[in-house]
């Protein structure tokens, strides 16, 4: 008998002895990090509301109870009973029964009403029908990404269960080593921005954190080929953690599966969906630019199939000697500061991922409160000595001025924006400004992936800033549903109509004017001297956006989509409004460390160019007397 089977046997005995004698245990299994208890008496289990919590705390495991398939009522009967228990206002849109696990997935517009106070409605459901309910939100704005991911996972359910069982057995394997060490190896994003990737290793376990590309330098990928990364085989990695969906952190994760990785990806649910959206777009862009993509869409599906979503604050066993907790990072939807507790009190490491320290319109500020943390790996994008950003209020005031001036001369405002994050923030600024009368009401057209990304945001309001989340829970106050927002889904014809019409605002990808529908908008509006092209985000060196900021007015355009070049003279006003950023500035980074609880002993400054990481490293050393480093790629630091 393997040690895991022995362990499950012991757990079954222990659980049986803990339960009242009239509640049977028919099987005990690992599914990813959870322990699943199958019972022939699901209704009795549900009657004793606290039983699961007591068991979980006794066994120090996350526990799910499921009915033995033998005792399930028929889905047709169960459906009626379930619908009778759930209030009509919950807006149930789908019920999906899975006889193999006894689960029923309930999709509803108001998941809170399906759950009930402290889960009371869910327990009612189990008591009535025996099935174990799981609740997901019906996207308030239809999202093809969310529905594709959900349908795909439904379709691959059998394989996914096998994956989860395998992962579960891996997590709970016996510890083999009597040695102790904790190490971090840098595979990318050191003294540079892009290709984030790290290995956290102990004698027992090897964890890959992020695996991104480097925008503007397609050949420079994380150093996966070195022995301490995948050199000894991708199967030697125990787990992959994704801090957030941006491609400089996520682009190459599907590649791991091409290299033979077959383990879990831990991240938040919105990151999983956004990751899928952005990775497929990444393949699309590569194809359009004539580059051979490093993997195909099949590998994106593998990544999604292997994702185990975690909620902020869940402490999860991901290896015999490692517990992972994700915390809000304030950077984009689902972004996480990842905290690793290693050994039994041996050591704690936190990776900031990308963070925003202060609250923004979209998100609460990054969490920096932990039970313990000895080493922090900190992003340094704006870590340079002069990287102080304009105050967001001033930025918003300037944006509104630009809009008002343009409106007054009957022009249109064209804003290139990233689909994820920046666009939603602009939408919130514009919705409020129109509501309060700071700018006149006019249509706001959303082009490219912006609408889809917004739909994903509104599917996961729990991940947004408190007050925004509350507004989204009420359809009539959901700012993303405001009537001035229009999804450009009618292609060139619709764009021409908008261009021929009156004053309006257009938000369009790509954010750095490197392809995408923004090119089409430039053709339509580029010649209008009354209109304004308004930059609200960082334009990287070498991009068309940066060149326009620098005064270029001869824009290469492909007029007929036939690949033949043409040139357009840009007559629009060009404005730049600084200060909208998903990243903490230098002050924010210092504040993150200064107020961090507890203050770490060591900080590795990464994810910034050479001078930014070195500036930040030496500032933190001088101000807080910590040991700080600005690592190079391909170094290994040992902490214990």
């Amino acid at each position: 008998m393997s040690s895991v089977d022995q362990q499950l046997d012991d757990l079954r005995t222990e659980i049986t002895s803990e339960l009242p004698s009239d509640i049977s245990v028919s099987d005990v299994k690992y599914e990813g990090p959870e322990l699943v208890v199958y019972t022939r008496d699901p209704k009795k289990f549900a009657q004793k509301g606290d039983l699961i919590r007591q068991l979980a705390s006794k066994l120090r495991k996350r526990i799910t109870v499921r009915p033995d398939p033998d005792v399930l009522s028929k889905p047709r009967d169960a459906r009626e009973e379930i619908m009778a228990v759930i209030p009509d206002d919950a807006g149930v849109t789908d019920l999906d029964f899975h006889a193999d696990t006894g689960e029923v997935v309930i999709e509803a517009e108001k998941p809170g009403m399906v759950i009930g106070r402290h889960g009371s409605t869910l327990r009612d459901i189990t008591q009535k029908v025996g099935w174990t309910p799981e609740v997901v939100r019906t996207p308030p704005i239809e999202s093809s990404t969310v529905s594709n991911v959900r349908n795909f996972l439904k379709q691959e359910r059998d394989e996914r269960r096998d994956i989860l069982e395998k992962v579960g057995r891996q997590i709970h394997r016996e510890e083999m080593s009597d040695d102790e060490y904790v190490r971090i190896t840098t595979l990318g994003c050191c003294r540079e921005v892009g290709r984030a990737s790290f290995i956290l290793s102990t004698p027992e376990t090897r964890i890959l954190i992020d695996c991104g590309d480097k925008p503007g330098a397609e050949g420079e990928v994380p150093y996966l080929q070195v022995p301490e990364a995948l050199g000894a085989g991708a199967q030697n990695i125990d787990a992959v953690i994704l801090t957030h969906a941006h491609l400089d952190h996520s682009a190459l994760i599907p590649l791991l599966f091409k290299y033979g990785y077959d383990g879990p990806i831990y991240t938040t649910e919105p990151t999983r969906d956004l990751m899928g959206l952005l990775q497929l777009d990444y393949l699309d862009v590569a194809a359009k630019e004539g580059r051979a993509p490093p993997y195909d869409s099949e590998m994106v599906r593998e990544a999604i199939k292997h994702t185990i979503p975690l909620e902020y604050g869940d402490v999860t066993d991901i290896a015999p000697d490692v517990k992972l907790t994700l915390h809000n990072a304030g950077h984009i939807l689902g972004s996480a500061v990842t905290h690793f507790h290693i050994g039994d009190g041996l050591y704690n490491v936190a990776f900031s991922g990308d963070i925003h320290y202060d609250d923004t319109r979209l998100f609460n500020g990054a969490v920096n409160d932990f039970p313990r943390v000895e080493t922090l790996v900190l992003e340094s994008t704006y870590g340079g000595r002069n990287d102080y950003q304009t105050d967001q209020e001033d930025s918003e005031r300037k944006l509104k001025e630009v809009i008002n001036q343009t409106y007054d001369r009957d022009g249109k405002i064209l804003i290139p924006a990233f689909a994820v994050g920046r666009s939603q923030e602009m939408m919130l600024v514009l919705e409020e400004a129109m509501r309060t009368g700071d700018i006149p009401e006019m249509p706001v057209h959303l082009d490219g992936m912006i609408w889809e990304a917004t739909a994903i945001h509104s599917t996961y309001p729990e991940y947004l800033r408190d007050d925004l989340r509350d507004r989204i829970f009420h359809d009539d106050e959901n700012p993303f549903l405001a009537e001035q927002f229009n999804h450009i889904d009618g292609g060139e014809e619709e764009r021409r109509e908008v261009a021929d019409g009156g004053p309006c605002i257009v938000l369009s990808t790509s954010g750095m004017v490197e392809g995408g529908p923004i090119m089409s908008w430039l053709r339509h509006l580029g010649g209008e001297a009354d209109s304004t092209l308004t930059f609200v985000g960082y334009q990287a060196q070498g991009t068309l956006g940066r060149r326009i900021q620098n005064g270029w007015d001869e824009i290469p355009v492909d007029d007929r989509g036939n690949g033949r070049g043409n040139t357009l003279t840009l007559d629009m006003e060009v404005e730049t409004v600084d200060g909208f950023s998903g990243h903490a500035d230098r002050q924010g980074l210092e504040n993150f460390v200064k107020t961090m609880n507890p203050r770490p002993e060591k900080v590795l400054c990464v994810h910034g160019d050479e001078s930014s990481t070195q500036d930040l490293s030496s500032a933190l050393y001088h101000d807080y007397n910590m040991r700080t480093f600005a690592p190079k790629n391909l170094e290994t630091f040992r902490f214990v």
Copy 2:
């Protein structure tokens, strides 16, 4: 056609065009780092004395010329002609013809006379017989190690040629990577003494430097199992370099072959022989102590078979992007400071191995003069702030006092000593003291491996201090052949006779009184109050030697070799004479760096306990304003 075959083809064309038209080239092959040119005209080749040197400098390769087997004269005829050419005084003891390669190995008491001025006699031989001569020294003291190694290599000649050809093709393979980096990974001996082991890696090449055990902590071996060591397979190591034969650097090298390593070991010839001697003894001791040795003697033979001996100063290609040069380290016979030139002028790293900075009786001081060196990895055994050693002259004076006092009361002097290094140094001190009359003439008995180690020393006089080398070249002045030295080869009986006799000196292993014949000497002499037990080397914590130094006088002895313990009361005087050491002291280490040419930019202080490495690191930083580190095991530093 493989790129190496293409390269050899091109070289053959180039060589043919460089040679006079009457000298043919019948084949061109790599043998390890050398290019071997086969010709049907070896005699003509030999006539043009400078041709090989010109070719080597033109092609920037080490070149050996050999006769095509088809044109060889018969060994019987050749033997006569060769003996006619070589002066009788050379003392030829063996001629060994190898028809497969056209080589004749000449073993002679005076190799210099076989070589002749600037190699003139060798060239004469080839001109006469066509065979390519190779010369080795007949050990002036018979050494079973040297003759075993030579016979073994003769026996395994075919396989060795295959190995060398494979290694040669590996060295000259095409470079695959367009990336650049130079890294050092620490696998042992950081913040500790023992288990020396490092990996030097570039995108192209991975080199293991040393692989030792940790005396007194048998379980603590280098971290070979991590991915960046052998995790991706032992075959991913390109080359192993051994700095010197001591077991804390060499003990686990045979283990690499058990793990599947099949590549070369680069080291000096005396280190190869001493390594074999010490590794076999290591297996022996393990067996005697009832520990399971990690490998068997077959693996020691594999290590010897894969060794490519280099001379100090030879610049040798060991990979497409790495040139290795060994330099005298002054520590023990054959010990080397290893210098790596990486890329075409990209970077230079030197590993000190163990060094002695000043000249000793046995060796010239360590070389610290290099064409270039950016990073130095420096031993720190005596790097602590108070690690200043007694001046050697004072030590010798004290030793002589102890001897004279003991002699005056008719006692015997028993000196526990390491077989390699310390014993030979003692022999030189004693021989001189008796010759100059500082101490009376008396027999000096050598027990354990001392005699054998001394024989190896006298086989390789080129590796000894200049004036000592010159003395060894003349039998009548060879201090190791002085008549007072007696090899204890008659076992217990001889020891009893010595013990029953008059005043004498006994040098015996083990050096820390942990088993070996010293235990027998303690039984014989331990009760003699007139005799003196004299320590001349470091006694590690936990050893019997250290306990005796600390005043213990109840010695556990195994009286009848039957494993049953017994106790002996030690009545001997106990003296300790400090200051004999193969290691540079703190001053020596600082001087090594201070006078180093050029001064390195970075120094990694290793091979010393935690405080020694940190003391030395901070002293070098403050005194010379270099970047210094005291690494932990399992860290990786990147330099380019």
